[in-house]
Amino acid sequence: MTARILVLVGNGLDTRGLAAALEPFDVTLGTIERGLRHDAPFDEPRAGHLLSRSGPFDGVVLAPAFVDGPDDPTVDNLLDVLTSCFSFIKAAIASFEERAVAGRVIALLPGGATMGKPGEVINSALAGAMLSLFRTVALEMRSTPVTVNTLVYAMRAADGPTEGEVLGDPEALACMIASLLGSGARGINGQEIYALAGADVGRLHP
């Protein structure tokens, strides 16, 4: 098994469980915790600089979600987060092309918001926007070695003293991510995998 480096760019989602779950697959997860800032968006050079600090990465995971603020996110926050996501995607693709690497870009989206959650309009807009952005980028990358896919995850309440929610099933996500990172997955592009243990079945996907 080849050791691989994956960089996760988030804005508050607790992904420690994912890093541990990826270890058996020989995937090292580096995290840019506030990469998708909702108060000052990153431009492409800055995004590229942050990514390059993780070394020669094989994949980039974007995990935008408003999970950490006491206040409701605003439409301005949404615009900033999407702008940062776009900058990181551009920077990741540029890096893969420069190094001639069959890189992977993966979006990690919360299941509730993705399917439509009444109390989370901004998060649902964010998830819908990311789904479509990734579909389009996948189309544009289809004749290159780079693949672009989306994983939709479940959340659960955090255990112990930690407040808020954490990834519900990091093992399932790690399994899917490791699979997408493999060279055999080069034909898997533009796909959306709902790792929700069937909670989405019976509902129209967006």
């Binding site: 968006p41 431009d43 492409e44 439409v75 301005d76 949404l78 615009l79 999407l82 702008t83 776009f86 900058s87 995607i89 551009k90 693709i93 540029a94 092309e97 918001a113 993705t114 399917m115 439509g116 959650k117 009444p118 109390g119 989370e120 309009v121 901004i122 998060n123 649902s124 807009a125 964010l126 998830a127 819908g128 926007a129 990311m130 789904l131 479509s132 952005l133 579909r135 389009t136 980028v137 996948a138 189309l139 544009e140 289809r142 533009g190 967006p206």
Partner: protein
């Protein structure tokens, strides 16, 4: 008999699709506050609507202007006593592959096509909630399914689809439906200005063998705005001549 809301608001009213929607709604007796960047286009629209059963009040504005939603709301409340319908039709399209698309352009596309409509909904939904009824219809795009060269536009339209689902669930108990329409290639001056070889390729990829018309979209908006659509919410109605089920790579 299908009833339509008495008063409403429409954005992007002077554009190809927006103008047709405005005239169809006003022709059906709806009174509208209509906004667009294009003051001249709005003036022409008001003149054209003269004599129809409904009325048009034109207010020029940019959907990126934070003050615009409340100005439109207040004008509609003053003129019609309520806002029973909101049609988000403002739009801006510039295509480029992601590597060549400047971040500023991406931001502009999202600002106009997603953030602006969400601001409008934020301002108008409480008025509808107070009234216990309302219809919100947003013009998304088939590009929400993914469209080569349209990363900014498709991202924004996907955001509209995502927000529509959440809003529909949140507002359903208040008698408000929230839906969006995803048009495919529609005959508008902007669309028909494509280079002939590209236009030919686009038309070839549409199973019904023709471009859509603004009237195709107007018919859907009239339906979604009326009482007959009360059981439909959170949906994305795709009006693309079958393009969304044909090979997406055929014309890209």
């Amino acid at each position: 008999m299908i009833e339509l809301p008495a008063g409403g608001i429409i954005t992007g009213a002077a554009g190809g699709i927006g103008k047709a929607l405005t005239l169809a709604l006003v022709g059906a007796g709806v009174h509208l506050v209509a906004t667009d960047l294009d003051q001249g286009g709005l003036d022409a629209l008001v003149r054209e609507a003269d004599g129809l059963p409904g009325t048009v009040i034109g207010i020029a504005g940019d959907v990126r202007d934070r003050d615009l939603p409340l100005a439109l709301r207040d004008r509609a409340l003053a003129a019609f006593g309520g806002v029973g319908l909101l049609v988000n039709c403002s739009g801006f399209l510039r295509d480029s592959r992601i590597q060549k698309m400047p971040v500023d352009l991406f931001r502009q596309l999202v600002d106009i096509n997603l953030i602006g409509p969400l601001r409008l909904i934020e301002a108008i939904a409480p008025v509808m909630q107070m009234a216990g009824q309302g219809r919100i219809v947003s013009i998304a795009s088939r590009a929400w399914l993914g469209n080569f060269g349209s990363s900014g536009y498709s991202c924004a339209k996907g955001g509209i689809v995502g927000a529509t689902r959440a809003l529909a669930l949140a507002l359903a108990p208040h008698g408000i439906t929230v839906n969006c329409i995803a048009p495919g290639f529609i005959e508008t001056p902007m669309a028909l200005s494509l280079p002939p070889h590209i236009l030919e390729r686009v038309l070839k990829a549409i199973p019904v063998g023709r471009a859509g018309t603004v009237d195709d979209i107007a018919a859907l908006v009239l339906f979604l705005a009326g009482t007959g659509s009360g059981y439909i919410t959170g949906q994305t109605l795709v009006a693309c001549g079958g393009r969304s089920i044909s090979n997406p790579l055929a014309s890209s």
